[in-house]
Amino acid sequence: MNTLTRENRDADRAQVDQFIAPPASVIEAGEGYTLELEMPGVTKDGLDISVENNELTVVGQRSLPTVQGTLIHHESRSNNFRRTFELDPSIDADKISAKIEQGLVTLTLPKAEHVKPRKISVS
């Protein structure tokens, strides 16, 4: 398996319709992974990240700006965001951290100590 975060698309199929799956990027660096999710309109308070049974779920409740007036051109979707990933066994779930800046959620998923590359010195 070479993807850290395998997506669980089939989980909770019934709930999928109510949510938008936000675009995500996964970057692997030596010591872990970075997962980015685009959730415009979500604040820190509206963000809910959980790990259960090795499954990472990110839910973003949106608080969109209310504008006075008539909507004359409409492209956005006001649904909340939700996406689930399966964590690679190399990830230390206790050390996952997250931040949100301008609607971009960045999760840092460090690899567990025992899977990090290490040099063994010959004595």
Binding site: N2, T3, L4, T5, R6, P23, A24, S25, V26, I27, E28, A29, G30, Y33, T34, E36, E38, M39, P40, G41, V42, T43, S63, L64, P65, V67, Q68, G69, T70, L71, I72, H73, H74, E75, S76, R77, E101, Q102, G103, L104
Partner: protein, 149 residues
């Protein structure tokens, strides 16, 4: 005695996910990774835009997640509002992209405004990844109350 590799019986559903992974990994080959995102290769990125109208203003609301204020460009020309900028990619040289759905690169989005606006009084705010541009209507197109004397 021979050692034979043990092969686990595969379930049908596993096959599908294997196929999907293979397709995914095809698009993750180094050749494709030189493009921002294979699917957006020809389309670019067109952020969702809503337009509102009230008595005094035209208001444009655009979803631009994860940008820096300085990287957003707003211009007004001939009754057309243009929003552009660049989604920059953070990261170091050795990092390996496992999945790239976020758009990276420049983008431009234009919309014709329904009425004339006062270009000198345009105001923009960027918060939680949402850009709100307020364009006051030009004096001559605003509704006027006429007093009966």
């Amino acid at each position: 005695m021979n050692l034979i590799r043990y092969q686990a019986p595969e379930l049908a559903s596993n096959r599908w996910s294997t196929l999907r992974d293979e397709l995914d990994s095809f698009f993750e080959l180094p050749f494709w990774s030189s493009f921002p995102r294979a699917g957006q290769l020809f389309t670019g990125w067109s952020p969702a835009l809503d337009l509102y109208q009230n008595t005094d203003n035209i208001v444009a609301v655009v979803e631009l997640p994860g940008m820096r204020k300085e990287d957003i460009e707003i211009s007004l020309h001939d009754g057309t509002l243009t929003i552009g900028g660049e989604q920059k990619r953070e990261g170091r040289g050795n990092d390996k992209a496992e999945r790239t759905e976020r758009y990276v690169g420049t983008f431009r989005r234009s919309i014709t405004l329904p009425t004339r606006v006062d270009a000198s009084k345009v105001n923009a705010a960027y918060r939680d990844g949402i850009l709100t541009v307020t364009l006051p209507k030009a004096e001559e197109v605003r509704p006027k109350q006429i007093q009966v004397s």
